[in-house]
Symmetry: C2
Subunit: 432 residues, 2 copies
Amino acid sequence: MKDSVNIGLLGLGTVGTGVVNVLTANAHEISQKTGVPVNIKKILVRNLNKVRNIAAGAVLTTNADDILNDNDIDIIVEVMGGEQPAKDYMLRALNAGKNVVTANKDVVAKFGRELFSAAEANHVDFMFEASVGGGIPIIRPLKQCLAANKLSEVMGIVNGTTNYMLTKMTNEKLDYETVLAEAQAKGYAEADPTADVGGFDAARKIAILASIAFNARVSLEDVDVEGITNISPVDIEYARELGYVIKLLAIAKESEACGINARVHPAFIPLNHPLAAVGDVFNAIFVRGDAVGETMFYGRGAGALPTASAVAGDIVDVARNLRHNVNGRILCTCFDQKPFCPVENTSSSYYVRLLVEDQPGVLAAIAGAFGAHNVSLNSVIQKRKVNNCAELVLITYHVSDANIRKALTTIKDMSVLTTVQNVIRVEAQQID
Amino acid sequence: MKDSVNIGLLGLGTVGTGVVNVLTANAHEISQKTGVPVNIKKILVRNLNKVRNIAAGAVLTTNADDILNDNDIDIIVEVMGGEQPAKDYMLRALNAGKNVVTANKDVVAKFGRELFSAAEANHVDFMFEASVGGGIPIIRPLKQCLAANKLSEVMGIVNGTTNYMLTKMTNEKLDYETVLAEAQAKGYAEADPTADVGGFDAARKIAILASIAFNARVSLEDVDVEGITNISPVDIEYARELGYVIKLLAIAKESEACGINARVHPAFIPLNHPLAAVGDVFNAIFVRGDAVGETMFYGRGAGALPTASAVAGDIVDVARNLRHNVNGRILCTCFDQKPFCPVENTSSSYYVRLLVEDQPGVLAAIAGAFGAHNVSLNSVIQKRKVNNCAELVLITYHVSDANIRKALTTIKDMSVLTTVQNVIRVEAQQID
Ligand SMILES: NC(=O)c1ccc[n+]([C@@H]2O[C@H](COP(=O)([O-])OP(=O)(O)OC[C@H]3O[C@@H](n4cnc5c(N)ncnc54)[C@H](OP(=O)(O)O)[C@@H]3O)[C@@H](O)[C@H]2O)c1
Ligand SMILES: NC(=O)c1ccc[n+]([C@@H]2O[C@H](COP(=O)([O-])OP(=O)(O)OC[C@H]3O[C@@H](n4cnc5c(N)ncnc54)[C@H](OP(=O)(O)O)[C@@H]3O)[C@@H](O)[C@H]2O)c1
């Protein structure tokens, strides 16, 4: 039994500083739960001369070998970010028999398979609770608490930046460019916001969640991705009028008939859905299982301390395992090979906003084109003119993605159509 | 390493039947995660002649010794309910070196200390995820994912029966007696509804949650309990008008200044609080920690399958531990002795509804009496007459419980007062 646990921290930025602060502030609680003190022995940084906002103690180094080759270090905590060299460092650590805790969704989504296998082969822990949903407990609940369920759906608001932007657009009726500038000014969005607003950050997270939920290998390339750049205040206003709110959702579903489908896109959700009330930078993940029914996990999806909470929770778990010499216990490479469901085979209802010529018979012609492709309409709003055109807003019944695409292709060729302004899925499945 | 795991099930009612069905339906997923098949070997019931809605396989018995003395049984799953003989059976099982999984909040709240110690002494697991919040993962997230936090608050809707009733009263403007009768007809409320409507079921659950969250020993006697029998449609309507909803909350808070306070009572919560939208039989638990900030866990707090989901999740965890021979690993009897904060020392704002004489100067007199005890008023509504009296509704600022009690004692003695109709706490702390 070890009498202390030593950590090598890779990175001392937002999350790294948070980890140092949490381990320091709550040292009593943590050593009570692990049975031994947990020390940060060495920290990898790029720049030794930066002013650091942490209590002294650990040695700073710019040389990863100082840490990875230190036999006294039991746990590597990777919070430097980026794919490389983070992934190589983690792989080296696992192969050297060190346990690894990471917050790095890019690496877990892309190289998870390789890292899980290395951890299993070396009988060490590889934990990544912080990689999805920041401080929200979601990886461990999925893996353990819900382990006896067949899960059919994981659906979440997993990107705080875009949720902040959509919440602002909704509550203050601002447009996309204005809220993006504001999110950048507040530090919520990067100078290059593509990873967030383009949906790619959310896509990495849903790939991780889907892999665990369905016991399968889902990677970024398996996720259909659409961002929020196309959402306008007009769409948000129509959503409100129809009893919905627009959220950027990361969705993974598995059906016996078709397989796994994973995607990220803006969606209408009914105002009474538990995800509808999740505002600002908050995240939430909704999970449906055959036994548990519907559950939801809510909290802060990012930020120094919330993310550090998840990282430090993993550290406590690894330290307990170290104390009892049982690291690598819950790993399981027993993933199933599962089919993927092409997006054309999925179905939902859709919101469609069109500009059409303002003359008699146009609505009938458009409705006829939808009908010809088996797309029936649930509701229609026509009340505004835009540049002399009539604005037509339609909500379809549940239809297949293939059919709505075909119908829209036909409609785009019709002479009465000016433009298809937007097409947004409606995630209308109610809580039973 | 064992080549199969054998369960002895105590009880085959609502939850027991659910457990059998989940273990049968998801046998493939479960054995994949545990590495070995999980079998139910024997089941304890009271009546062998009842028709049972489960697949054949296990042996039914009315003799607990058949199960507790069977050396082949690794896990006792207690879903018979009640304090005795359930507690004795569990204690015997632990002392015989068997792992125990239970859904029994009564026993965990009352005898938890004794059972944890027995489990630790015998190096076996004692798990009780299903005892609070049904299928909602909450015990494991608190113990593990949030282990590095100092938690300051756990607040939840943990009784489905009363939440169903309050939701009905709110949405359909029905009175207490009507919805109680309906809840009984639907099987949501027992013939004797005291445990639910009196708040005692919720009190047991908050005692369990507070013990874990604060690393302390909190038992039923430490919880101040008030039920919902006193809530009328009038209060619900005033709440709505003021931007609140009334929920039966189970609350535990720890402050450095005063210690731990645990209580169950109806409360006003702001409509934008994440708990406000939790309707019908759903449960949700809100947790605040120094690192994680605010998180919430939502789902089905009862029912055969949701509860079985939690029980079976525990079984999977015990089975994994069995396979690696590490049962008893995460136990920790390192509880702190902590002071309790008497309810008089807690503070909040309050809703007070009074009937007073309808004459000039009465409002000034009442307001003066509050002011004399340092209770200042945030808002006042006077708009209705009831039996020739004026109905006065007041919301106070944040005041100490001691002061509001003193003020109400003074007011009760005033000749202008007819009756104090209701006094309800306002849990107004916002999400930052
Ligand atoms: N920020 C969040 O809210 C959040 C939430 C969830 C997950 N995450 C994940 O957590 C990880 C860290 O994010 P962060 O926001 O903390 O990043 P950050 O603030 O940019 O910090 C990165 C740290 O790593 C160091 N570093 C980077 N590359 C290095 C290299 N090649 N060699 C040595 N040191 C290097 C930097 O050193 P210097 O200090 O010397 O520059 C810095 O200390 C990322 O994977 C991110 O996706 C972040
Ligand atoms: N129901 C829920 O939604 C729910 C949710 C969370 C937690 N729980 C907890 O789960 C536990 C079980 O609840 P339940 O609703 O499943 O109860 P239940 O339907 O009344 O079932 C109790 C079962 O235990 C057996 N039993 C009771 N006392 C016995 C005795 N002395 N000897 C032998 N067998 C005995 C009964 O046998 P017979 O079948 O022969 O009568 C029956 O099969 C309770 O602790 C409850 O608090 C329940």
